[in-house]
Point group: C2
Chain length 187, copies 2
C-alpha cells in the first residue's frame, strides 16, 4: 500500500530507499467503510489524508442544513479540512466516505518532523499545493462564469467515472445547482 | 521598497542580510499606472508579482465578453496567472491596474535558481500557497452556499476599503451577481 505513496511522491521528487523508509515511518494506514467519517464538523483536525482507493467527499453544511461539496477525493488525492489542520482548530467541514476507502494519514507534528529531516519533501508539497490552488481558481471561475449545463459537461469530461459512482443529489450539490436542474441536464 | 518584501518573508522565514541580498538580486521593480496591464490574455506569462502598493485585478473574459474577477490584489499579495506561469504557457487571465501600483517581480527561472540556492524559501512559498488554497476553498464555499447579500456583507467585512476603491460593476463581477442586484444590496 505504501508503494502507491512512493510512486506518487516520486512523480515530483526522487527518493532513496532510506528516504522513503523515513517517510513511511511517519504515516499510518486506515480502512474506512462507506458512510464513515474521517472528519466531522466540530472535531479537532489532526490528520491529512492520502487516498489509496475509494471515494470520499469534503463538504460543509450551511445554517439551513444544506450540504455544499468542496470536492470529491479519490486515488492519489490529498484531502483534509486544511484550514483547521494547519491552524490546529476545529473542523468547519466534514470528510466522509461515499465508497469503502483506504487511506494513509499523517499528523501535522509528524509532517513537521518529516520536513525538518527531509526538506526536499517541502518541494513536493509546495508543488501539490500549487496544483490545488490552480484547480480551485479554475473552479471559482467556473462557478462565476459558466452555466449549470457547462459545469455538468466539464465534470463529465474531467471525471467521467464520477457520475456513475455518485448519486445525483451530490453531483448537484457539487455543481451548485438544484437536483431538479441537474435532472433536466442529465436526462 | 525591498524592505517590505523582506518583512513579508520574515513573517514566516527569518533571513540573514546575505540571504536577503541574494533574494533581492533575483527580483526587479516596476511602477505601473492605472489601466495598464501586467498580463494580457494570450501573453506568455513570465513573471510572478509581489504588490508593494496600489490595486490590481486578476480576471478572465468569457466567450460572451463578460469579465469575471478571480481576485483583487493589493499590498503584500502575490499575483499572477499561476497556471500559465508554472507551465510556461499562455495567459488565460488578465492582470491590470485599478490604481497606480508598484510591484516587485521574479521570473520562474530566477525563482528556481533562488530555491536551489536557498531551499528555506520553498517553505515560505509553500506556506503562502497553503493560505491561497484555503482562501480559494472559502471562496468556493461562499459561491456555493451564500446569497448575493451575504457575499457582499462578507466582502465589506473582509476588505472594508475595497468598496470605496472599486466601482460597483467590478464588485458585482467579483461577487458573481448582476450590477442591478448589487445596487439593491448596497443602497
Amino acid at each position: 500500500m505504501y508503494t502507491k505513496l512512493r510512486a506518487h511522491i516520486e512523480q515530483i521528487v526522487p527518493l532513496t530507499d532510506d528516504e522513503f523508509a523515513l517517510i513511511q515511518s511517519h504515516f499510518h494506514y486506515r480502512k474506512v467503510r462507506k458512510h464513515q467519517y474521517l472528519i466531522q464538523e466540530g472535531d479537532s483536525v489532526v490528520y491529512s489524508y492520502f487516498v489509496l482507493s475509494g471515494l470520499l467527499k469534503l463538504s460543509s453544511v450551511d445554517a439551513n442544513d444544506k450540504e455544499h461539496i468542496l470536492h470529491f477525493a479519490m486515488d492519489d488525492w490529498w484531502v483534509s479540512d486544511y484550514q483547521a489542520y494547519f491552524t490546529r482548530s476545529r473542523a468547519t467541514m466534514s470528510l466522509d466516505c461515499l465508497e469503502d476507502a483506504e487511506v494513509l494519514y499523517i499528523s501535522l507534528d509528524d509532517d513537521n518532523k518529516l520536513f525538518a529531516a527531509l526538506p526536499k519533501l517541502e518541494h513536493f508539497f509546495w508543488k501539490k499545493s500549487q496544483s490545488s490552488y490552480i484547480a480551485s481558481q479554475q473552479r471559482i471561475l467556473s462557478l462565476l462564469s459558466t452555466s449549470a449545463k457547462e459545469r455538468y459537461e466539464q465534470l463529465l469530461k474531467q471525471y467521467p467515472s464520477l457520475v456513475q459512482r455518485v448519486n445525483k443529489t451530490l453531483i448537484a450539490s457539487y455543481l451548485g445547482v438544484s437536483r431538479e436542474t441537474l435532472s433536466r441536464l442529465s436526462s
